[in-house]
């Protein structure tokens, strides 16, 4: 098994991470719908696999995983993981307005605002990191951003 080693073009990794965020958000919503539809009390949720919603959720997770592997080739794990933490904002909002099952209290709105601020601050950090990554050979030295 070999892994691709070609360096990504500027800002492409940023868009790939955004694609990952959208895939994971869709995946979580489909998984929740599938898990609720199938019921069950087991520790591991194997019975959820009977629901087509769960299968669609898994497909979204696989697509998101592909995006994630692409991004991890150059972006530091710490930055990428915190950037995609915006999922934890998108999922409750989507659960509220699409699944219509969970209201959002004021304290959670404050937390959502802070995560969005962090996300916006990380955009130029990631873009600058990619420019640096383009100029240096892959695998050389530890990551910094």
């Amino acid at each position: 098994m070999t892994f691709p080693i070609a360096p990504p073009s500027p800002t492409r990794t940023l868009w790939v991470l955004i694609a990952n965020i959208l895939c994971v958000t869709c995946a979580e919503l489909f998984l929740k719908t599938g898990a609720t539809a199938s019921g069950g009390d087991s520790v591991l949720g194997f019975s959820s696999l009977q629901s087509p919603y769960t299968i669609v959720g898994i497909c979204f997770h696989i697509a998101g995983f592909g995006c994630w592997m692409y991004a991890l080739r150059t972006v530091p794990l710490t930055l990428a993981y915190n950037f995609t933490a915006i999922n934890q904002v998108l999922v409750p909002i989507a659960a509220r307005f699409i699944l219509r099952n969970e209201p959002i209290p004021p304290l959670r709105w404050m937390g959502i605002a802070l995560v969005v601020v962090g996300f916006i601050l990380l955009v130029p950090v990631l873009a600058r990191f990619e420019e640096k990554a383009e100029r240096r050979p892959l695998g050389g030295g530890s990551a910094s951003a």
Partner: protein, 113 residues
Amino acid sequence: MNQHLLLFGLLAECAIVLGQLLLKRAMVPSAARGAEGQRVFFFILSIIIQALYFFLWLGLLQNYPLSSVYPFDAAGPVLLVLVGVLILHERLSSRAWVAITCVIAGLALISLS
């Protein structure tokens, strides 16, 4: 908080952090001798651990509302920052630290709510 939810929620978070650490190690090319085999091993181990996380997560989603389960993901970024700095030796700019602090504080507020 329900002990079952606490135990399996934390177990799931530890699994995802370990899985991400191994995946990062697998995705970074290295010219060292035997590195390719080691990367494949890390990749396979990462997939196994992330699969365990996935089914733990599905089990939690089956048994608890999304708003009770999702706050456990707030622990992930904190553990990931520790792993990134202490094990992967990633260096971050002051702007990146401010952004990460905002994200973690925001996630903590979401969990508290």
